[in-house]
């Protein structure tokens, strides 16, 4: 809640004025029954028409002032609520941008998206309602009670019983139903997942004739949801009847007492009317208050979910102790980098254990790469190939050992500086909505159109981009859905090249390409000078020309060397190679 309330500080004026004007309006509203009592007791009793008209004008006047006060309050409340939500969205989006890969893995992107969209919306609603109603409703309830006591203490004692009784009823019902509503939401989420599963898996479900099983599962969830909804409905349906009962019991008592006191001349008719009036006002406000509490509980739950995101402290920054080295003395790198061309990239006894996992994804990896070399990485599914290359741009930090780029520990690098050096093509080819050109410029803004065409040429995308309407300006849908998998892969390669990187990482990025295209792509990339290239692949043919090949097996190095050497020394490599070559015959 701290972060959320903290944003309210920027709207202190609005946050104070909104409830204040609301109270003003409420105060005017509380006077209305008194004025009416005066009309009855003084105006009617004495037959004074002028007095009646005067009091009538007073009523209208109270209404107009009330309206003005309330409009002012609504405006300030809306301004504060929208302002808080806008600031929160900005803060959260910026905060999320600073997350490390480990944070992203742990939290998951879909929940982040819900929190920055619908949760913050709920917070906006909550802030708005709280500013408008949280003070007003109790104020009117309490105020009505005080006004009644002012009219006559003895006649109004019933208020002191009714109000706690109403409060108890409302609280008990809400206490029971709010957790139940959470359960309803959980059940509904389950059903949603169920439905999504049925749409996504329709081919497999039908292929295995599993339709009936799926329907049965859905029915069970559907039934469970429905029955809990009915149960909640029955309980929350008690609220209106019970409050109605209590208030009318109060009115019955008022009638009796009123009759008693009027009979003895202690009260006037107008005063009794006013008392009954106050009683009805309390009912209306309490129901509003109950609705408000529902909104506020929702908003608080959402605010807590929002807060959780802010509580994530990210490690995607260089170690605090070493920050000086990177920021104060940037020249130091250049010296080190040029001196260490032979050990441009160095892994020293590197181990990596992902958060929440007990096994090491990489164990004891040591090797060094000269500047400009091409490195191939090969191994079975899940052997740690991707994990290894993700250590280079510091996506993950080694849990043991050291990764050095240009002689400097990755943990000490300024991440932005480090990543500017690296162009990485990930397994999943992601494009963003916009144009082809905009996507390529993600690599680096300082590319001319001519250069962009060059990258497209190298990545074997020139041909199909030329065929597109608008060419470089051709539009790309979200996720690149209007391109085939192979085209997307090639465009992401072009994007990496447009970064003009010193280190290029291709993580199994030609899996959707046919052999001919893949071969052409590799030849052209080999021709690029001064670039240290990592190629992750499952085919030995893709990496056989590399200066160095690292063979991984279950997170450990099974062999390092050139293609020919490995065929002699590394049985695993030989097996991989033979499985692919023996078929060729």
């Amino acid at each position: 809640m701290n972060k959320v309330l903290g944003q309210l500080k920027f709207y202190r004026k609005e946050a104070v004025l909104a409830p204040l004007f609301k109270l003003l309006e409420a105060t005017f509203e509380l006077f209305v029954p008194l004025v009416m009592a005066a009309i009855v007791d003084n105006g009617i009793a004495t037959g004074n028409k002028a007095y009646i008209l005067k009091q009538g004008l007073l009523l209208i006047f109270l209404g107009v002032i009330g309206l003005c006060a309330s409009l002012t309050a609504q405006f300030f409340a809306a301004k504060a609520a929208v302002g808080v939500a806008t600031r929160l969205r900005h803060e959260m989006f910026s905060h999320i941008q600073s997350f490390s890969f480990t944070d992203i893995d742990r939290i998951g992107t879909s929940t982040l998206i819900t929190r920055i969209t619908s949760d913050i919306n709920q917070v906006q609603n909550g802030v708005n309602m709280v500013l408008r109603l949280l003070l007003r409703s109790p104020f009117i309830v309490g105020g009505a009670c005080i006004m009644a006591l002012l009219i006559d203490v003895k006649a109004s004692l019933i208020f002191l019983i009714i109000i706690p009784a109403l409060t108890i009823v409302v609280c008990v019902i809400m206490k029971i139903t709010i957790p139940l509503y959470k359960k309803v939401q959980m059940r509904l989420d389950e059903l949603t997942g169920n439905t999504r599963e049925n749409v996504a898996g329709v081919r497999v479900i039908r292929a295995f004739n599993n339709e009936q099983i799926q329907v049965n599962e859905f029915d069970a969830n559907n039934e469970a949801l429905s029955s809990i909804q009915v149960f909640v409905g029955k309980i929350s349906g008690l609220m209106n009847p019970l409050t109605y009962l209590i208030v009318n019991a109060g009115i019955a008592v008022l009638i009796y007492k009123g009759a008693l006191y009027i009979d003895s001349g202690r009260l006037t008719q107008g005063q009794v009317i006013a008392l009954i009036n106050y009683m009805s006002q309390i009912l209306v406000e309490l129901i509003k208050l109950a609705n408000l509490i529902v909104t506020v509980t929702k908003a608080v739950a959402c605010a807590n979910r929002v807060e959780e995101v802010f509580n994530v402290t990210t490690d995607d920054l260089p170690d605090r102790a070493n920050i000086k080295e990177t920021t104060d003395n940037p020249d130091e790198f250049k010296v080190k980098e040029s001196e260490n061309d032979d050990k441009y990239i160095e892994f020293e006894n590197v181990c990596l254990t992902y958060e929440g996992s007990s096994d090491e994804a990489l164990s004891d990896i040591s090797f060094s790469v000269k500047k400009g070399q091409t490195v191939g990485i090969i191994g079975g599914t899940g052997c740690g190939k991707t994990s290894l290359v993700h250590l280079i741009p510091g996506f993950y930090k080694a849990t043991k050992g050291t990764v050095r780029i240009g002689g400097v520990d990755v943990k000490q690098w300024n991440m932005e500086k480090l990543r500017e050096k690296v162009g990485i093509v990930m397994q999943k080819a992601v494009l963003f909505s916009g144009t082809i050109k905009e996507n390529l410029l993600w690599g680096s803004d300082d590319n001319t159109d001519r250069q962009l065409w060059e990258w497209l040429d190298i990545s074997q995308s020139k041909e199909f981009v030329e065929g597109k309407n608008g060419q470089l300006e051709a539009s790309v849908n979200a996720g690149g859905k209007n391109f085939s998998g192979g085209q997307r892969q090639r465009l992401t390669i072009a994007r990496a090249l447009a970064r003009k990187p010193q280190i290029l990482i291709l993580d199994d990025s030609s899996s959707a390409l046919d052999y001919a295209t893949d071969a052409k792509l590799r030849t052209q990339i080999n021709a690029l000078e001064n670039m240290t290239v990592f190629i992750v692949s499952q085919r030995t043919s893709s990496i056989s020309n590399a200066d160095m090949i690292i063979v991984l097996d279950d997170g450990k190095i099974a062999g390092i060397g050139k293609h020919e050497e490995l065929l002699d020394t590394c049985p695993l490599y030989k097996e991989i190679h033979m499985t692919q070559v023996s078929d060729i015959g």
């Binding site: 209404g63 939500a85 992203i104 998206i113 690296v422 097996e575």
Partner: protein, 593 residues
């Protein structure tokens, strides 16, 4: 001409709406008695509730200093007590009936929807987005229930309250009632003015919000790429621009929408003042004959609550409109055409031999787009057919046709000499084992996922299948082994492991025919080679269709179909095709250069 077009569109829209309402009524029809009871109880509740202020007013007239009519006051208090107790009982029963009815209808619709989902043709599903379908079944149904059923109850109560109030007021005094009625249009005017303003602002805000959500989806959904390209600052800049725009529209939308309550409260205040002043003057001028103080107090009670039902009705009306739109979307789906039922003479394919014939088959997804034309193929039982070709060449289409996910536009497909639409769908699909490139696992345990094709499989059978598919060793290492829950989105499993599980599924069923669509594309070559051996054993004596782009895996096939742009351009064994030196020859050689 344009005009008539618009008109006809409007008419068809109206017709759609009418149809929707008919469908809704049909759904409620099941609960006719409950619906009638609910309406009756609503009517009684309203009447009783409105009668209480009259009683209260009367009681005030009996209160006179020194001359109070105790007998009547006691009678009134007892009547109020009885009415209130009756009211709360009726109200609660009505609430329960409404809740039960609403959720029963919701449950019904969802149950229908899920059944529909299993029965619509894939040609329908493939043109829908997943999100849209899910929101029809979940969000739309909810909105429909809230708006149409609960909303209708509110609407009905609101209208009854207005009519009842007017009737009760007229019964007391027509002149003062006129005062109230004259102010009514003002209340309508204010409400409609505000809702118009609010609506247009909300539309704008919603549009912006949608734009921003799209942006968030992309940038946070692909945060890893954003970070890899140090695009964070740029993203924040673009986000802030959208955020500021949204703030502008949201503020207006929120402010306008919050005008409703104060404004109607003000109108209510006017009504109240009007009734008070005119009533008081009437009492004074007629000397209490035209109106008594007690009656005035009844009037004031009504006046106090007078705009409330108007408010409710106007908010319910927008909800009702939304609900009808939602209902339209739901029924559109529920009334979508279904796949044809098995023909009455359909045979059950129990032990298929595996002869497959494509007889002059033509097919296309869109009528104007030609795909497969006059395709002929004769596959002897037990042979291996490989399908190769560039992406989008129609490889997957053949699978769609074999599994009857789609039916040919022209021509026939024969299995063991029977036209495949004369075979029961269930037995046809049971005869095929399919592994797709896009693996799909359901939200269930590993065991349940493997046993999809054979729910009664024993543990031994499942483990044997897993061993054959080389998935046993990694399953063993999962936290709860075969009882580990996996989900479509939960992740945890690599693409390769998911593929291994889908292969295990097929290994368990041992169907007479196999379809492997890039079944091993995400599996490393060593494991792949082991699986290939298992597949080879599995394929012995079984007709199999294998799609692959690793040509090494298909060389030994009996027939290789080379497809391009929907057509089979070459057909023959590996050696024959190499000799032909055509497309296949080039494709094959390209992987070694």
């Amino acid at each position: 001409m344009n005009n008539s077009k618009i008109k006809s569109k409007k008419e068809s829209n109206k017709e759609l709406k009418n149809n929707t309402i008919k469908s809704v009524l049909h759904l409620i029809g099941k609960h006719k008695i409950h619906a009638a009871l609910s309406l009756l109880f609503a009517l009684l509740t309203v009447a009783f509730t409105l009668y209480v202020p009259i009683l209260t007013g009367k009681s005030i007239d009996y209160m006179i200093e020194g001359d109070t009519d105790w007998k009547n006051i006691k009678k009134i208090i007892i009547t109020i007590a009885v009415l209130v107790v009756l009211t709360i009982i009726l109200q609660w029963i009505m609430n329960v009936i409404n809740t039960k009815m609403t959720y029963a209808v919701v449950k019904d619709i969802r149950a229908k929807a899920i059944r529909k989902l299993q029965n619509v043709p894939l040609s329908y599903l493939d043109t829908q987005t997943q999100g849209d379908l899910v929101s029809r079944v979940i969000a739309d149904v909810d909105q429909f229930a809230d708006g149409l059923l609960l909303g209708f109850a509110q609407f009905f109560t609101g209208v009854m309250t207005i009519i009842g109030t007017l009737l009760f007021m007229i019964s007391i005094n027509i002149k003062i009632t006129l005062v109230v009625v004259l102010v009514t249009p003002l209340s309508f005017f204010v409400a409609s003015f505000i809702s118009k303003k609010t609506y247009s602002m909300f539309t704008k805000a919603t549009l912006k919000r949608g734009e921003q959500t799209g942006f968030i989806d992309e940038m946070i959904g692909n945060l890893k790429v954003v970070k890899a390209y140090t695009h964070e600052d740029e993203a924040i800049k673009q986000f802030d621009k959208l955020n500021d725009d949204l703030a502008k529209y949201s503020l207006k939308a929120l402010f306008y929408s919050s005008l409703t309550n104060p404004s109607t409260r003000f109108v209510n205040g006017l009504v109240y003042a009007g009734v008070g002043v005119f009533g008081a003057i009437l009492i004074v001028t007629t000397g209490g004959v035209g109106l008594t103080v007690g009656q005035l107090s009844s009037f004031l009670s009504y006046a106090n609550q007078y705009t409330k039902p108007f408010n409710e009705i106007s908010s319910v009306i927008t909800e009702l409109q939304n609900a009808i739109a939602c209902a339209q979307r739901i029924f559109e789906f529920l009334e979508a055409p279904e796949i044809e039922k098995d023909l009455p003479d359909a045979i059950t394919l129990s032990e298929a031999k595996g002869d497959v014939t494509f007889d002059d088959v033509s097919f296309s997804y869109l009528p104007e787009q030609r795909l497969i034309e006059h395709f002929n193929l004769d596959v002897k039982a037990g042979s291996r057919i490989a399908i190769v070709g560039p992406t989008g060449c129609g490889k997957t289409t053949l699978i769609n046709l074999l599994m009857r996910f789609y039916d040919p536009v022209e021509g026939r497909i024969l299995i063991d000499g029977h036209e495949n639409n004369h075979i029961t769908m269930q037995s046809l699909r049971h005869s095929f084992g399919m592994v797709l490139q896009e693996t799909w696992l359901k939200n269930a345990t590993v065991r349940e996922n493997i046993a999809m094709g054979k729910p009664d499989a024993t543990d031994e059978e499942i483990i044997a299948a897993a061993k054959a598919a080389h998935s046993h060793s990694f399953i063993k290492r999962l936290p709860k082994g075969y009882d580990t829950l996996i989900g479509e989105e939960l992740g945890g499993l690599s693409q390769g492991q998911k593929q291994l599980l889908s292969i295990t599924r097929v290994m368990l069923c041992l169907p007479p025919m196999l379809i492997l669509d890039e079944a091993t594309s995400s599996i490393d070559t060593i494991t792949e080679r082991r699986i290939q051996k298992a597949f080879l054993k599995l394929m012995e004596g079984r007709t199999s269709f294998v799609v692959a782009h690793r040509l090494s895996t298909i060389k030994e096939s009996d027939v290789i179909l080379v497809m391009k742009d929907g057509n089979v351009i070459e057909q023959g064994s590996h050696d024959e095709l190499i000799v032909q030196k055509g497309f296949y020859y080039n494709l094959y050689n390209s992987q070694f250069n």
